[in-house]
Protein backbone atom coordinates (compact mmCIF):
# COMPACT_ATOMS: atom_id res chain seq x y z
CA UNK A 1 0.00 0.00 0.00
CA UNK A 2 2.28 2.73 -1.28
CA UNK A 3 0.30 5.65 0.12
CA UNK A 4 0.99 4.48 3.65
CA UNK A 5 4.72 4.85 3.21
CA UNK A 6 6.33 7.94 4.64
CA UNK A 7 6.94 10.37 1.78
CA UNK A 8 9.22 13.31 2.41
CA UNK A 9 9.51 14.25 -1.23
CA UNK A 10 8.49 13.28 -4.71
CA UNK A 11 10.87 13.02 -7.62
CA UNK A 12 8.30 12.41 -10.37
CA UNK A 13 8.88 14.78 -13.29
CA UNK A 14 6.54 15.50 -16.16
CA UNK A 15 5.06 17.96 -18.61
CA UNK A 16 1.60 18.46 -17.14
CA UNK A 17 0.29 18.09 -13.60
CA UNK A 18 -3.44 18.24 -13.01
CA UNK A 19 -4.41 18.97 -9.42
CA UNK A 20 -7.96 17.63 -9.06
CA UNK A 21 -9.72 19.19 -6.08
CA UNK A 22 -13.38 18.48 -6.78
CA UNK A 23 -15.53 15.42 -6.15
CA UNK A 24 -17.42 13.79 -9.02
CA UNK A 25 -21.11 14.33 -9.89
CA UNK A 26 -21.67 17.70 -8.18
CA UNK A 27 -19.85 19.69 -10.85
CA UNK A 28 -17.97 19.14 -14.11
CA UNK A 29 -14.61 20.34 -12.73
CA UNK A 30 -13.27 16.83 -12.28
CA UNK A 31 -14.45 15.58 -15.67
CA UNK A 32 -13.16 18.60 -17.57
CA UNK A 33 -9.86 18.40 -15.71
CA UNK A 34 -9.46 14.73 -16.60
CA UNK A 35 -10.25 15.55 -20.25
CA UNK A 36 -7.12 17.71 -20.34
CA UNK A 37 -5.12 14.80 -18.95
CA UNK A 38 -6.33 12.48 -21.72
CA UNK A 39 -5.68 15.03 -24.46
CA UNK A 40 -2.24 15.80 -23.06
CA UNK A 41 -1.37 12.12 -23.03
CA UNK A 42 -2.75 11.68 -26.55
CA UNK A 43 -0.32 14.45 -27.58
CA UNK A 44 2.55 12.39 -26.12
CA UNK A 45 3.01 14.53 -23.04
CA UNK A 46 3.90 13.11 -19.63
CA UNK A 47 0.83 13.70 -17.48
CA UNK A 48 0.56 13.32 -13.70
CA UNK A 49 -2.56 13.54 -11.56
CA UNK A 50 -2.76 14.72 -7.95
CA UNK A 51 -6.08 14.09 -6.23
CA UNK A 52 -6.35 16.66 -3.47
CA UNK A 53 -9.04 17.45 -0.91
CA UNK A 54 -12.45 16.28 -2.08
CA UNK A 55 -10.78 15.16 -5.29
CA UNK A 56 -9.72 11.90 -3.60
CA UNK A 57 -13.41 10.88 -3.65
CA UNK A 58 -13.09 10.53 -7.42
CA UNK A 59 -11.21 7.30 -6.76
CA UNK A 60 -13.79 5.75 -4.45
CA UNK A 61 -15.03 2.44 -5.81
CA UNK A 62 -18.69 1.64 -6.36
CA UNK A 63 -19.71 4.83 -8.16
CA UNK A 64 -22.49 4.74 -10.72
CA UNK A 65 -24.52 6.97 -12.98
CA UNK A 66 -27.34 6.92 -10.45
CA UNK A 67 -30.86 8.26 -10.83
CA UNK A 68 -29.74 11.33 -12.76
CA UNK A 69 -27.91 9.40 -15.44
CA UNK A 70 -24.74 11.51 -15.19
CA UNK A 71 -21.81 9.66 -16.65
CA UNK A 72 -19.52 10.41 -13.75
CA UNK A 73 -15.78 10.04 -14.09
CA UNK A 74 -15.11 6.35 -13.46
CA UNK A 75 -15.16 5.46 -17.18
CA UNK A 76 -12.51 8.14 -17.75
CA UNK A 77 -10.41 6.98 -14.83
CA UNK A 78 -10.54 3.43 -16.16
CA UNK A 79 -8.99 4.70 -19.41
CA UNK A 80 -5.93 6.29 -17.77
CA UNK A 81 -3.87 3.14 -18.10
CA UNK A 82 -4.64 2.90 -21.81
CA UNK A 83 -3.32 6.46 -22.17
CA UNK A 84 -0.16 5.57 -20.21
CA UNK A 85 -1.09 7.93 -17.39
CA UNK A 86 0.36 6.08 -14.41
CA UNK A 87 1.77 8.90 -12.27
CA UNK A 88 -1.13 9.05 -9.83
CA UNK A 89 -0.95 10.74 -6.43
CA UNK A 90 -3.32 11.47 -3.56
CA UNK A 91 -3.07 13.98 -0.76
CA UNK A 92 -2.41 11.75 2.24
CA UNK A 93 -4.10 14.15 4.63
CA UNK A 94 -7.31 14.06 2.55
CA UNK A 95 -7.29 10.25 2.63
CA UNK A 96 -7.12 10.41 6.41
CA UNK A 97 -9.74 13.15 6.59
CA UNK A 98 -12.24 10.91 4.80
CA UNK A 99 -11.06 7.72 6.49
CA UNK A 100 -10.07 6.06 3.22
CA UNK A 101 -7.54 3.32 2.65
CA UNK A 102 -6.13 1.82 -0.53
CA UNK A 103 -8.80 -0.92 -0.61
CA UNK A 104 -11.48 1.75 -0.98
CA UNK A 105 -9.99 3.04 -4.23
CA UNK A 106 -10.21 1.88 -7.84
CA UNK A 107 -6.60 2.75 -8.69
CA UNK A 108 -3.34 2.60 -6.76
CA UNK A 109 -2.11 6.17 -6.26
CA UNK A 110 0.89 7.11 -4.17
CA UNK A 111 0.15 9.12 -1.03
CA UNK A 112 1.92 12.45 -0.62
CA UNK A 113 2.56 14.62 2.41
CA UNK A 114 2.94 18.38 2.03
CA UNK A 115 6.58 18.41 0.90
CA UNK A 116 5.79 15.76 -1.69
CA UNK A 117 3.03 17.88 -3.19
CA UNK A 118 5.29 20.93 -3.39
CA UNK A 119 7.95 18.83 -5.15
CA UNK A 120 5.42 17.45 -7.58
CA UNK A 121 4.28 20.96 -8.52
CA UNK A 122 7.87 22.11 -8.89
CA UNK A 123 8.79 19.30 -11.26
CA UNK A 124 6.05 19.83 -13.86
CA UNK A 125 6.16 22.49 -16.56
CA UNK A 126 2.43 23.16 -16.58
CA UNK A 127 0.31 22.86 -13.44
CA UNK A 128 -3.47 23.26 -13.71
CA UNK A 129 -5.93 22.99 -10.84
CA UNK A 130 -9.45 21.72 -11.48
Amino acid sequence: MPYLEEQNGCSTKGDILLVLRHAPHGSSWLREGLDIALVGAAFDRDVSLLFMGEGVLALLSGQQAGALGQKGTHPTLQMLEMYDIDALFVEQRAMERYGLVQEDLILAPQGLEEAGMADLIKHHDLVLTF
Partner: protein, 96 residues
Protein backbone atom coordinates in the same frame (compact mmCIF):
# COMPACT_ATOMS: atom_id res chain seq x y z
CA UNK B 1 10.04 30.36 -7.35
CA UNK B 2 6.45 29.47 -8.15
CA UNK B 3 3.67 32.05 -7.87
CA UNK B 4 0.45 30.74 -6.34
CA UNK B 5 -2.61 32.92 -7.04
CA UNK B 6 -5.66 32.57 -4.80
CA UNK B 7 -9.03 34.21 -5.50
CA UNK B 8 -11.02 32.68 -2.63
CA UNK B 9 -11.59 34.18 0.81
CA UNK B 10 -10.26 32.13 3.74
CA UNK B 11 -13.82 31.33 4.88
CA UNK B 12 -15.04 30.18 1.44
CA UNK B 13 -13.75 26.63 1.73
CA UNK B 14 -10.47 24.81 1.98
CA UNK B 15 -8.79 26.43 -1.01
CA UNK B 16 -6.41 28.61 0.98
CA UNK B 17 -5.54 25.76 3.31
CA UNK B 18 -4.76 23.55 0.31
CA UNK B 19 -2.54 26.15 -1.36
CA UNK B 20 -0.57 26.72 1.80
CA UNK B 21 -0.04 22.97 2.21
CA UNK B 22 1.34 22.64 -1.33
CA UNK B 23 3.74 25.61 -1.31
CA UNK B 24 7.51 25.20 -1.26
CA UNK B 25 9.69 27.34 1.02
CA UNK B 26 10.60 29.79 -1.73
CA UNK B 27 7.17 30.05 -3.39
CA UNK B 28 5.13 33.27 -3.33
CA UNK B 29 1.42 33.84 -2.71
CA UNK B 30 -0.72 36.49 -4.40
CA UNK B 31 -4.26 37.19 -3.18
CA UNK B 32 -6.71 38.50 -5.81
CA UNK B 33 -10.49 38.95 -6.11
CA UNK B 34 -12.22 37.56 -2.97
CA UNK B 35 -8.83 36.24 -1.89
CA UNK B 36 -7.85 39.75 -0.73
CA UNK B 37 -10.12 39.26 2.28
CA UNK B 38 -7.29 37.11 3.61
CA UNK B 39 -5.17 40.24 3.96
CA UNK B 40 -7.21 41.61 6.89
CA UNK B 41 -5.33 42.15 10.15
CA UNK B 42 -7.32 39.64 12.19
CA UNK B 43 -6.46 36.87 9.72
CA UNK B 44 -2.74 37.58 9.61
CA UNK B 45 -1.90 34.44 11.57
CA UNK B 46 -2.85 32.35 8.52
CA UNK B 47 0.14 33.70 6.61
CA UNK B 48 2.90 33.98 9.21
CA UNK B 49 4.98 31.33 7.45
CA UNK B 50 5.05 33.48 4.29
CA UNK B 51 6.95 36.50 5.60
CA UNK B 52 8.26 38.42 2.58
CA UNK B 53 6.51 36.10 0.12
CA UNK B 54 2.92 37.36 0.29
CA UNK B 55 1.28 39.84 -2.02
CA UNK B 56 -2.19 41.27 -2.43
CA UNK B 57 -3.73 43.01 -5.47
CA UNK B 58 -4.45 46.68 -4.84
CA UNK B 59 -7.46 47.11 -7.13
CA UNK B 60 -9.35 44.21 -5.55
CA UNK B 61 -8.71 45.71 -2.10
CA UNK B 62 -9.87 49.12 -3.32
CA UNK B 63 -13.11 47.88 -4.86
CA UNK B 64 -13.99 46.11 -1.61
CA UNK B 65 -13.17 49.04 0.66
CA UNK B 66 -10.33 47.06 2.22
CA UNK B 67 -7.33 49.12 1.18
CA UNK B 68 -5.44 50.42 4.20
CA UNK B 69 -6.46 47.58 6.47
CA UNK B 70 -3.51 45.35 5.65
CA UNK B 71 -1.20 44.10 8.36
CA UNK B 72 2.54 44.60 7.96
CA UNK B 73 4.16 42.02 5.79
CA UNK B 74 1.71 42.08 2.90
CA UNK B 75 3.15 43.75 -0.19
CA UNK B 76 0.43 45.57 -2.13
CA UNK B 77 0.88 45.28 -5.90
CA UNK B 78 -1.05 46.82 -8.79
CA UNK B 79 -1.95 44.97 -11.98
CA UNK B 80 1.47 45.79 -13.43
CA UNK B 81 3.02 44.23 -10.33
CA UNK B 82 0.84 41.15 -10.85
CA UNK B 83 2.29 40.69 -14.34
CA UNK B 84 5.77 41.35 -12.97
CA UNK B 85 5.34 38.55 -10.42
CA UNK B 86 4.32 36.14 -13.19
CA UNK B 87 7.47 37.14 -15.10
CA UNK B 88 9.70 36.42 -12.13
CA UNK B 89 8.03 33.13 -11.23
CA UNK B 90 9.05 30.01 -13.15
CA UNK B 91 5.33 29.28 -13.41
CA UNK B 92 2.04 30.40 -11.96
CA UNK B 93 -0.53 28.10 -10.34
CA UNK B 94 -4.06 29.43 -9.80
CA UNK B 95 -6.28 28.12 -7.02
CA UNK B 96 -9.98 28.97 -7.04
Amino acid sequence: MILHVVNQAPDAGRTLEQVLSAMADDDCLLLIEDGVVGAMPTLAALFTALEGRRYVLREDLESRGLLGRQPEGFAIVDIDGFVNLTEEAAKTVSWY
